[in-house]
């Protein structure tokens, strides 16, 4: 067994151990299902009610991905603008920090007012939740480009656009991917908030209805679905990251592959 496999096995054992401990604690201390259901109950609920949960899962995933995609596009554009222009930096940063300080729950009703309840407010909330880390990271990546790298380009009479495309953006990629991993989970948070407040579909909506009827195992099943989706997307972006910016991590596999 290689050390890599051993490490994976060890971490898997700890994670499984956590759930076993939870299960045992519930049994030993006679914790009621309505307070904290056992992991096996949650899994059973998930299995039993899968046909009912499935459309909500798809809705949440779809909403999150659309919102996240919009967040990436606008985040990179705004980040590139702020990172490459002094004026945009001075104007854009205070606005952005102010905007991101607003609790997103407070914005959802405004979106509902403008676009009606349903998918659109959820997509927009996911977008603005995921926007900020992307903007900040892309801007930082651009702003910290080594002056020597720019001098090389300037000596070649490269235009500002050439420098951005050939030096600035590639150099910002590690920052960009680091932000994606944070942003994708934030996008889920955004979607669920909006679904809880104003929607009749999605995991957020499912959990709200379940908790109002004290169906606690179903609430936890919803949480589990969210957690799994989050971990899944995080893993996918880590994989893409490893492929695209292996140079920043200096992995030998990258050099050979």
């Amino acid at each position: 067994m290689t050390p890599g496999w051993r490490r994976h096995l060890q971490s898997a054992a700890v994670i499984v151990g956590f759930f076993v401990l939870w299960e045992l604690a519930c049994i030993v201390f006679h914790i009621k299902e309505i307070v904290l259901p056992r992991p096996t109950q949650i899994l059973f609920t998930l299995w039993e009610r899968a046909p009912a949960i499935w459309p909500h899962t798809l809705q949440t995933l779809y909403t999150t991905l659309v919102g996240f995609a919009l967040g990436i596009v606008s985040g990179v554009l705004i980040g590139a603008l702020i990172g490459s222009s002094r004026l945009a930096y001075d104007v854009g940063y205070p606005l952005l920090i102010g905007f991101s300080s607003i609790p997103k729950v407070a914005v959802v009703p405004i979106f509902v007012l403008w676009f009606g309840a349903g998918t659109v407010p959820a997509v927009l909330t996911a977008m603005i939740m995921s926007l900020f880390p992307i903007v900040v990271n892309v801007a930082t990546g651009l702003a910290t480009t080594e002056p020597e790298l720019e001098d090389v380009m300037k000596a070649l009479r490269a235009s500002k656009f050439d420098i951005l495309m050939n030096v600035g953006l590639p150099r910002a990629m590690p920052y960009f991917f680091a932000s994606l991993k944070v942003s994708v989970t934030l996008a889920f948070v955004g979607t669920v908030i909006a679904e809880t407040v104003a929607s009749n579909l999605g995991i957020g909506n499912l959990m709200m209805i379940a908790s109002s009827s004290f169906d606690v195992p179903l609430v936890f099943a919803g949480l589990l679905v969210l957690a799994l989706l989050g971990v899944g997307l995080y893993a996918i972006f880590s994989l893409i990251e490893g492929r695209v910016i292996g140079w920043a991590k200096r992995k030998d596999e990258f050099a050979l592959g």
């Binding site: 090389v152 000596a155 050439d162 140079w247 200096r250």
Partner: protein
């Protein structure tokens, strides 16, 4: 405007100062310099004498505070001249392979730029590989910068400065961070490349042996404010060899340059002393 007809690079009454008001520091005093086409000029002198400043002025990376900088008879920046540049740090882009790094100027500089998409997998690639082979890096084109040693990176950086056949080659202490043997080997390679292509070269260096070995003309500079205090031609036959650097004529030249720099430093120190109020 008196313009030397033969001059490819010309500095006229150029000064440069950093900062404003009280904290204004003159990096370069009134300087005139004209360099003929195909010349190899070395700028030597103590730290802070404005050697690199002259390089940046000629490349157009910074504007002069006063005076004019002409390249190929036109003011710098407007001239359609291809410039190659190499620094003390190799400054290769870490996300590109060595070959792609070397090919970077072809992607930016006209007329190659227009052909880049079509030729990057054929003609340009061969061109990069040939140049890499010339500096002893054949077979390393697919490697990434972090897989190479400092000397190898500097060779690649030299290739990048030369790939687009620049008329003007700017070298800012390109061998400063290398060990003696690698440095001497690269002197030979650079001399060969220069004799092949005859770009106009401006080399900034601390190393007097390097200056005397490579250059056709050595300019000694002094600091505070920076200015050229001596301008001497080096007429040893080419190709020069490392053995020649131990011959009496060569040793005498480096010694003379050294004395000139030491006395220039003395002058600068004396000037500093006078500035301190009693």
């Amino acid at each position: 405007m008196t313009e030397d007809a033969r001059a490819f690079v010309q500095l006229q009454d150029v000064t440069l100062a950093y900062g404003r008001g009280e904290r204004r520091v003159a990096a370069l005093g009134k300087t005139d310099l004209s360099i003929a086409k195909g010349d190899f000029v070395a700028l030597v002198g103590p730290s802070g004498c404005g050697k690199s400043t002259i390089l940046k002025l000629v490349t157009g990376l910074i504007p002069a505070s006063s005076g004019w900088v002409f390249v190929a008879g036109r003011e710098v920046g407007a001239e359609p001249v291809r410039v190659g540049m190499a620094f003390q740090n190799p400054t290769l882009l870490p996300w590109l392979s060595i070959r792609d790094n070397v090919m970077l100027p072809l992607k930016i500089v006209p007329p190659f730029r227009q052909e880049f998409r079509a030729k990057r997998r054929g003609e340009f690639r061969d061109r990069a590989d040939a140049l890499l082979a010339q500096v002893g890096l054949s077979g390393f084109g697919d490697k990434f910068p972090w897989q190479l040693s400092g000397g190898m990176l500097q060779r690649a950086s030299l290739c990048r400065a030369l790939i687009h056949d620049p008329q003007l080659l700017m070298l800012d202490e390109p061998f400063g961070a290398l060990d003696q043997f690698t440095r001497e080997e690269l002197w030979g390679i650079l001399q060969e490349l220069w004799m092949d292509r005859r770009p106009t070269v401006l080399l900034v260096t601390h190393d007097l042996k390097e200056a005397s070995f490579l250059a056709t003309r050595v300019c000694v500079m002094r600091a505070r404010p920076g200015r050229i205090v001596e301008d001497s031609f080096v007429d040893f036959p080419r190709p020069r060899t490392i053995e020649m650097t131990y011959e009496p004529g060569f040793v005498a030249l480096t010694q003379r340059l050294r004395e000139r720099i030491v006395s220039a430093r003395g002058d600068a120190a004396a000037a500093d002393l006078q500035e301190i109020p009693a």
